[in-house]
């Protein structure tokens, strides 16, 4: 950490220079005015979700989605978490929560481990043909998932992993690889070459340099990778539903089931509560790691 900071101090986020003077200048009014308007636009949907999830259905039918709840009820939350039905299973999102954790943790770990090694190999050990593989990989980032659905079915079948948790881990690793490899490659490229050369002179090998020199310096980019992967894998619906069985369906499948169940009246409040509950994990990850995220992005995306 400190090393990286010393080497490239400008990657540190946050305002530079002295603290701004408190002044109600025309410039500041314009600046903060714009930012506040923009912030309201970004917060509006979250506000609507929260407010709606706390209303009863009769109140929702009255019409104004922006009005705060007259009578606050937590029933939609309870229902979304514990009693909403899909077919015969009436245990809401709770069942999917642990499945999602079970899927997300190994998928995030495996995909990041492999992508970081890829990035390291591409940045520091540029073997012949590396660029070709990398170009194909980036090409892969553009392939719509729906197109790959069928080839992946065949692939998993041949590997004997179809329907298992590890099959899903493989799929997430494959589809997370392009962007993650790009980020890691850019990050490792931005690290000072002298460190790498010095280690080589000392006789350190591929893995030695990776674990002793590179990893300790890579916290920011790992934070970015973790955030991107937790978000992506947690929010995934298509792979979770196609490549697993009902007993390990992730939370998003239950969310889809609750939201899409064709019932008499759409229970908007339960839908919104379920939506917030499902989005909670990635949201918390974001709020906790906000500052590190920008720092990591700065390191991973800027250099190229």
């Amino acid at each position: 950490m400190t090393d990286a900071a010393i080497v490239s101090p400008r990657l540190e986020p946050g305002p530079r220079g002295q603290k701004p003077r408190r002044k109600l200048s025309r410039r500041n009014i314009f600046l903060y005015g714009t930012l506040i308007v923009v912030a309201v636009y970004y917060l509006l949907p979250l506000y609507v979700m929260v407010v709606t999830s706390l209303k009863g259905m009769p109140e929702i039918r009255l019409g104004n989605i922006f009005a705060p709840p007259v009578e606050i009820t937590f029933e939609p939350w309870v229902k979304a978490w514990a009693t909403a039905c899909t077919g015969l299973n009436c245990d809401g999102l709770s069942r999917g929560f642990w499945n999602s954790v079970q899927i997300t943790v190994p998928s995030v770990m495996v995909s990041i481990a492999i992508a970081s090694i890829n990035g390291y190999a591409l940045a520091n050990w540029r073997f012949k043909g590396a660029d070709v593989f990398f170009t194909i990989l980036i090409f892969g980032a553009f392939i719509p998932y729906q197109v790959m659905l069928y080839p992946i079915v065949i692939l998993l079948r041949e590997m004997g992993l179809y329907g298992s948790l590890w099959g899903l881990v493989v799929v997430h690793t494959i589809f997370g690889m392009p962007i993650l490899t790009l980020l890691f490659r850019n990050y490792f490229t931005s690290l000072p070459e002298e460190l790498f050369k010095a280690a080589r002179v000392d006789g350190a090998g591929f893995w030695g340099i990776f674990f002793k020199i590179m990893l300790p310096m890579s916290l920011p980019i790992f934070v970015v990778a973790i955030i991107l992967q937790v978000t992506g894998i947690w929010n995934d619906f298509l792979f979770g539903v196609v490549y697993t069985k009902p007993d390990i369906y992730p939370m998003t499948v239950q969310l889809n089931n609750i939201v899409n169940s064709v019932q008499g009246v759409k229970e908007y409040n339960v839908n919104m509560a379920a939506t917030i509950l499902t989005g909670l994990v990635p949201l918390i990850v974001y709020f906790i790691s906000g500052k590190l995220f920008v720092r990591g992005i700065a390191a991973g995306a800027v250099k190229g």
Binding site: L11, I117, R126, L137, Y268, G304
Partner: protein
Amino acid sequence: MTTRGRPNRLFYNLSAKIAALPMMFTALVVFLGGTVWTVVYSFTNSKLLPRENFVGLDQYERLWSTSRWIISIENLMIYGVFSLIFSLVIGFSLAALLDQKIRYEDTFRTILLYPFALSFIVTGLVWQWILNPQFGIQGIVRGWGWESFTFDPLYNPDIVMFGLLIAGLWQGTGFIMCLMLAGLRGIDEDIWKAARVDGIPMWKTYLLIIIPMMRPVFITTLVIIAAGIVKLYDLVVAQTSGGPGNASEVPAKYVYDYMFQAQNLGQGFAASTMMLLTVLIVLIPWAYLEFGGKKHD
């Protein structure tokens, strides 16, 4: 990028190659193999299961005579162009605003970035609701007494793609802003000082000096935005299901619907091949800039 010292000894290369095996596997077997497989079967009349019953270009002829496919392509182009422009302009403008040494930068940044943590399914649902003419913005403005106010992008075939765009930008611009902000933070303070000394106005400094210097950021950003545009699917399904009529259909949805609902794999593969071809047309110049061009630096 700098030129690396290339280790010539086989031993080092071998380790790196072994370590990169998963990447090679993914690149060659999954992405390249899967693509070739898809292209080959796009020349067959496979229905529910893939079969080697070749029919030449039939699937492509049918594809390009299908009005839904043409509409999908047009829609993607509209969405793509506007999404690219707005993402970059809004993302850069917000980043520039946040870079003015403001107070509460962390708070603003978190607010702008949080939608990125939500899936497109969630995004689509929320905006579907806010744009609902009865309950949403239109209903409320009318409730204030402006009876003729009309704002129903999801129900108007002419502007439905912009209804999707509003939601898509809400979800994605925060991330673009972060990339841009990171890029701005990478610019040397001395450049600003020099520009100030020369009396160059701020907007001109951004336009003529800063942006050209941020080329690598813009390239990474372009790749990320473009990859998102081509894959546009979840948002459409959640927000409009392709409607009204088929006014907001997109290519990825055509592929999925024909592969699985219509049980016509051949047609779906032909459509995906066309999509991949488009991607190649975009990517080849990029690959040239990234790898080919560098050697002349």
